[in-house]
Amino acid sequence: MISSAPRVAGLRLAGLLCLSVVLASANAWLNPHRPAWNLDVLAEGEIALTDAMAVGDTALWIDARPETQYRAGRIGGALPLNEDDWNGQIQRVLEQWRPGRRVIVYCSSQQCQASHDVARRLREEMGMEEVYTLKGGWEAWLAHQK
């Protein structure tokens, strides 16, 4: 005769699993303080678009894209600064910057490197502390405007 004890234990375990799934689903659906599942992970020195927009004009916006793209369209008030013409463009940036003012640098998209290069030089060569790169860059900004 086969003992029913393992079967009962299995059923109990399955019941517990079902109960935990139901409770977790209810929590995920109803709990207003649930953790965000799609939380954007920011790399070091990055700022999310929503946070950058909240800072707004108090920040100094830097457009690190090539000049032709800057001329075609940019975030309002952004100054051009890229390594193609660093020496020609840096003076205007320094005139607009003051200690404590945040700097937000963007380039074309999440994949481009220019904003990171410009941000690094502003930190290392100018001693600016609050320098961020915009996550998603110009593409993210455009997508938000639509």
Partner: protein, 133 residues
């Protein structure tokens, strides 16, 4: 033909180019690495004093990265609260800048502008920031 615009780039630069031919579906990747020397290397790149500390002089060494002699023809500060002195320690090659703030009681920033005579057709200007923070 592929062109690499040096512009204001400096230090180690790495560029890759994908070359596609009708011989193969797999593109060939060419990598170019080049070290672009700084025309003017400032060490340290900026100076800073903490608020309330003694307003001691700070020294910045400026080294010319070009093969030929480059002269710093003019040095200016946009904030008279930070004074700067220039001394040529090796003609056309090395300079010593001495900076000191009148006081460190308040936060401030001074932009030091260094004008050079190189290249002759469009002389370059460099900037050095001095902070009290």
């Amino acid at each position: 033909m592929a062109k690499f615009k040096i512009g204001g780039r400096q230090g180690l630069q790495t560029k890759t180019i994908q070359v596609k031919t009708d011989d193969s579906d797999t593109p060939t990747v060419l990598t170019m690495k080049t070290l672009i020397p700084k025309l003017l290397d400032l060490q340290p790149a900026f100076v800073a004093w903490k608020r309330g500390v003694a307003p001691d002089a700070r020294t910045v060494i400026a080294r010319i990265g070009a093969d030929e002699a480059v002269h710093i023809t003019k040095i200016e500060t946009d904030n008279p609260a930070v004074q700067v002195q220039l001394e040529e320690t090796e003609p056309g090659k090395t300079y010593r800048l001495t900076l000191f703030p009148d006081s460190t009681d308040e936060s401030l920033t001074a932009r030091i502008t260094l004008s050079t005579d190189f290249p002759r057709e469009k002389p370059r200007t460099f900037y050095l920031l001095a902070h009290v923070k």
